[in-house]
Symmetry: none
Subunit: 220 residues, 4 copies
């Protein structure tokens, strides 16, 4: 139940760095490591250098804290993805998007785990999480995929769009959310710089394979 590797992001500014942020940092790390139920308010508070009672000066609830963590973490991720994806030429943009996502997730590796936990358990916040954040994104991606498949260039049918997007989501998120398992199974830390680069290259290559070769094959 111990998880020693949880790093304090900015230990330099211990006192300031606005308490609220310190709480959010620790909460994010703990929620990602132990899930909502497995994380105690006391743990979060103590790690942030506070009494549990003091924490309630900043967040009204454990639940509100959790939501705040989710929002603070997910919002910029989504924005970033939105920025990256809102372009035209998929062939050109694809690699850039993939690289961008991977880089961002690498720097905020708690998030995919957080989302994976929510996704698997169907937690209470899954609803707003999916409605507010993820759904807009996937809708956008699905639309883009459909555009391309309609043009007949890819070899994938329009109906396959959700499946393809889902598959990509899983491959990208999975690399981070299952990092502890992959580390044990593959013998390498998926979050290490080189491993991330490899994975990024692999995904880019896969994207190319999927988009090009679909043509020459046709539906089944």
């Amino acid at each position: 139940m111990s998880s020693p590797e949880i790093a304090v992001e900015e230990p330099s500014t211990r006192g300031p760095q606005h308490t609220r942020d310190r709480i959010l940092d620790e909460a994010e790390a703990l929620f990602a490591h132990k899930g909502f139920a497995g994380t105690s308010v006391r743990d979060i508070a103590n790690r942030a250098g506070l009494t549990p009672a003091s924490l309630y000066n900043h967040f009204s609830n454990k639940d509100a804290l959790y939501r705040a963590v989710l929002e603070r973490g997910v919002q910029p991720l989504i924005e970033r993805l939105g920025d990256l994806a809102s372009s035209e030429d998929i062939d050109v943009v694809g690699p850039i998007v993939i690289e961008g996502i991977m880089a961002h997730l690498a720097e905020h590796s708690h998030l995919p785990r957080l989302i994976a936990l929510e996704a698997a358990t169907g937690g209470e916040h899954l609803n707003e999480l999916s409605r507010n954040w993820i759904r807009p994104l996937t809708d956008q991606a699905i639309a883009a995929f459909k555009d391309e498949s309609k043009s007949g260039a890819s070899g994938w049918s329009v109906e396959e769009a959700p499946l393809a997007i889902s598959a990509w989501m899983q491959m990208i998120f999975g690399h981070f959310s299952m990092a502890p398992l992959l580390h044990e199974v593959l013998g390498r830390d998926p979050l290490s710089k080189e491993c991330l680069e490899e994975q990024t290259r692999f995904l880019i290559k896969l994207a190319r394979v999927m988009s090009i070769s679909g043509k020459s094959i046709g539906p089944e």
Copy 2:
């Protein structure tokens, strides 16, 4: 914290069907839905028609119960996979393996969620889980992939084997472990019969695409 949809597998034979199995059934469902920490022994016991105290006549611990759930669930899965995968012609076997896995997971959809939770949190049992069950499987799959890539047929290099296997793992497991999220995002239940069939067809097609077209492209 709501979990209305948890089904009792065989409500017909309430009394018999040996208590121990009833406990394991309920525990599996609850652990998969709420995680280890989020699941109370009382809940499991009550659902199995027992007092918490009685449950301790069958399992010495919440932890031991969890391990038993894991083992009972994972072992046949792994065996099944092993059986399926131990054959020769990948082009022929591939689809069969994929169909087999998908069918099995569909019938035991708690497992992927259970594993995803363990994988994300790096729980205490992750170690034996990976060492005893998952690692043998991935090692086998990686070896098979390497064989094929060495023959030069696939267009993938030997070094990419772990990445590919990892990707496949995530796509297959992800479909189940993120089912609640996908349900919300895509508007369809990933566990519905038709959705499963589509997904299976999609993965088979993707496998074909990857193995054939890799050739005509080469490394990056």
Copy 3:
């Protein structure tokens, strides 16, 4: 909480040696080591090679078992003491009584601890314990002491009889009931053969000192 040194008296006749006695043996040892509340029926049963349920075929409750232990242990002790003490010439008998008591207690060292626990806590059974067993004994001893002091030989007054008897009781019982503490404090095991012999000699000498020198001093 472990107490490894608890010996099984007769491991030769494991099966037979009438279960009931095996239970009593283990119960005596455990009650003496951990007190009534600190001893669980399960522990006793398991040590006796039984299921707790089976134990209830021999004793109707934990309490009845405790009483049985007390009785089986105390009765022969008291009888022995009674035999020893029912003689005339204190100067001659004294040493024999002391030796006898010490020898008996040495062989049943659980008893003094058991009694000390009851005595200190004023447990529920203290009443019958004192009324039925101890009181008759002390009354007898007090009477003997009074006889002697009346004769003017000892230098102790009649009123001091209870105090003297009490003191002797404490010295003799204390050597056994505080054995664990004395072991730590004095660095020697009070139950070892040589230590017992020393203690016996010391007490005999003390008895002589008390009975003789009282004369030459007088009441304060």
Copy 4:
């Protein structure tokens, strides 16, 4: 299991008198009456006017609480004894020491019972109890006794020092630790003022007898 006679030391100042001390008071009384295992945290808390949960704001453990009780009780006792015993002329000081100890124990009669329970069961804390508190004291007493016996004045040999000290310890502590039993057996409350005075006089007399008459007798 009944313990009707437990007195609340200072019921006057119920609210204040710092909660922590109230807890310690009640815990001391209960531990002494029922032993560690027989005392429930709930009981202690309720008697101190608290919820069990609140008690944990003051002590992290039942065990920690027990240790605190032991320390708070034993420390001043030991200090007192140390003060009393650190003087020169045994013939003069002896009575003063005995009176001092008896008076102190009379006012803190829980302690001897507490120690007797630990001593009899060889509890987990016996080790530090003996090492930190009791051993220093007995060592000092033994040294003093040896000094005297070396001077040839007492008639006791140096080797008998531990036995003598042990005997005295048992007589003094025993009077309090076996108080409930003695009350039943002797028909008088050993903690009553007159009984205490008698016992004190008796012990002083006994000390005189031992130290003086030893001379004229010699070793056996």
